[in-house]
């Protein structure tokens, strides 16, 4: 089974093609605000490197974020419409899971961290491996990076996509014997493809059209309502 994985939640268009558990080609294309402009070309490049054409692809892995809101929207839209136009299955892959995945081993807990883009905000999650697949432990974390030493207290390994941990936090984690890794090219497109292949092979295919980004953070208007007009928020609830 050949899978194309894509993730545009970070500072790059990350793309990869895998087949039967092996990555055939992978590309990490730094992108500022030109994700939408370049993504078709990036797909062509990675497919070319893997020596496959888009019609050979049997399924799609779609990086869901968290990360750049605008970035994820491009990737999720491209991923779902690719799957729809070619009539192939798609599996959504949370980007934090893709950051942790290459470092998971049985009995170990891995903490994944993605920068929140503004100020000292960060997204984090803790995963452990169960039957070879990452399983989220507890809830996603969205908040100040300074709190991460506490959030990640129980993990063996911490992987950050781009170096976002302040020295104070890394010092605490190191003193507690944690392994700290910085993966500047995570989440990788190859990893997203591999995970999607596992999901699709295991029958865990998502409803393609229903794929939506994992923003984690409320949009500002809702946060504004919550702060100043909490009564309005109640009526918003039933509207989703």
């Amino acid at each position: 089974m050949k899978i194309l994985g894509l993730d545009t939640s970070g500072y790059a268009n990350a793309l990869g093609v895998c087949e039967n558990g092996r990555v055939l080609a992978e590309g990490h294309f730094p992108s500022a605000n030109d994700s939408v402009q370049k993504i078709m070309n990036h797909i062509t490049v990675v497919l070319g490197q893997a020596d496959v054409s888009i019609s050979d692809i049997d399924g799609f892995g779609v990086g869901l974020g968290p990360g750049s809101w605008t970035g994820i929207r491009v990737g999720v839209t491209v991923g779902k419409i690719l799957a729809f136009s070619l009539g192939k299955p798609a599996a959504g892959v949370p980007s934090l899971m893709a950051v942790a995945y290459p470092h998971l081993s049985p009995g170990q807990r891995v903490g994944a961290v993605i920068g929140g883009g503004t100020g000292s905000m960060a997204y984090a999650a803790v995963y452990s491996a169960e039957a070879g697949l990452p399983v989220l432990q507890g809830d996603y974390y969205m908040g100040d990076v300074m709190e991460l030493a506490g959030v990640l207290a129980d993990v063996e390994t911490v992987v950050t996509a781009v170096d976002v941990l302040p020295p104070d936090v890394t010092a605490v984690l190191r003193n507690n014997g944690r392994t700290l890794l910085v993966e500047n090219e995570a989440p990788g497109g190859g990893t997203v493809a591999l995970m999607a292949e596992t999901f699709i092979a295991g029958g865990q295919t998502d409803d393609t059209m229903a794929l939506v980004p994992l923003y984690l953070k409320e949009h500002t208007a809702r946060a504004f309502q919550a702060r100043y007009f909490p009564q309005n928020l109640e009526s918003l609830k039933d509207k989703k």
Binding site: M40, R73, V74
Partner: protein, 334 residues
């Protein structure tokens, strides 16, 4: 030739299939009114998030309704210029993907060009050259259309769009969002001559508009009337306010038509759904001996059929867009 159109420039997620630029096979529009009315207007981030949720379903149903397979689509047209950037991105990402996956041409269009074509979709016999007034919550423009695809911008709003003035005034009176349809309904039972609101820039000798001051004037007059203990009836305010806007729009459009020596006028955009504007423009057209063309209500507000129609015309002239096309939120029409 079947063109799939996609439009996500503001708060409507829309997809349509139009054959030969004229025959609408489907025109699916998902509005976000449920969310927008809660927030009192369009919040760009909310709108963009909703587009991602809906885009797939809307495209799917635009194809399913007329029973068209993806392989039957000959080209994909999309709004790429003018609109909210986060919203435009979703439609453009979808259109590029379809174009890439199906191996069919992509055509990126200016949103206003779509509105100009909504007139032609409703009335293929419409004459050229013509003056097109395109008026909505986001824009108010007078455009000289020499022939399809050949435009000259003559006038635009210096501040609020006409629809924006409706929305903001309605918001002041707590009438909900969007304000246009509410004010229109309310005005039906009011006296349009009850209050003489200003007609901004009516005799300014140019073709530009300004509606911000009119909105303030309404609010101030109402507050004064309340302070005097004789609050103005809401229906009269709505009718008189609507009359002021319609008066300016109609007069300036007729003046422009005379100045440019055209026989045809078309009125497009969300505000062209306003019943008073439709009636007054038609009546003024008769007085001035001009043909007035106003699209069917379903084509007034943002929709993808008009984008598909404009895309067909561009494609017919051999124009296509590259897959690395960017979105331009504040692009000029010409």
């Amino acid at each position: 030739m079947k063109v799939l159109g996609i439009e996500t420039s503001c708060d409507e997620t829309s997809a349509a299939v139009v054959e030969d630029g004229q025959c609408i096979l489907s025109n699916k529009i998902a509005t976000q009114l449920d969310l927008l009315s809660k927030y009192g207007g369009v919040v760009p981030e909310i709108a963009a998030r909703r587009h991602v949720e809906l885009i797939g379903y809307v495209i799917e149903s635009a194809l399913a309704e007329p029973g068209i397979g993806l392989k039957e689509i000959d080209a994909v047209a999309v709004t790429a210029r003018q609109g909210l950037i986060g919203c435009l991105l979703v439609g453009v990402a979808a259109a590029k993907t379809l174009s890439y996956a199906l191996g069919k041409p992509l055509i990126g269009l200016h949103h206003i060009e779509g509105h100009i074509f909504s007139g032609m979709l409703s009335n293929p016999q419409m004459g050229f050259p013509q003056i097109c007034l395109t008026v909505s919550g986001g824009h108010t423009m007078l455009i000289y259309v020499k022939e399809p695809l050949d435009y000259k911008l003559i006038g635009t709003t210096l501040d609020d769009a006409a629809g924006e003035a409706f929305d903001k005034t309605a918001k002041f009176f707590n009438l909900g969002f969007p304000g246009g349809p509410v004010m229109d309904r309310l005005a039906a039972s009011g006296n349009p001559k009850a209050i003489r609101f200003p007609r901004p820039l009516l005799r300014a000798g140019n073709f530009d508009f300004s509606f911000s001051g009119l909105k303030t004037s309404v609010i101030n007059m109402f507050k004064e009337s309340v302070a005097k203990g004789e609050p103005l009836p809401l229906a009269d305010i709505a009718a008189s306010f609507q009359e002021a806007i319609v008066d300016v729009l109609v007069t300036k459009t007729m003046d422009t038509a005379r100045e440019y020596g055209v026989d045809t006028v078309s009125v497009t955009g969300g505000v062209s759904a306003n019943s008073r504007l439709r009636a007054a423009m038609t009546e003024a057209g008769k007085r001035h001996g001009l043909a007035v063309n106003i699209p069917a209500l379903s084509l007034c507000t943002d929709n993808a059929a008009m984008i598909a129609a404009a895309g067909y015309a561009r494609l017919y002239c051999g124009e296509t867009s590259p897959l690395d096309m960017d979105v331009v939120p504040n692009a000029l029409l010409v």
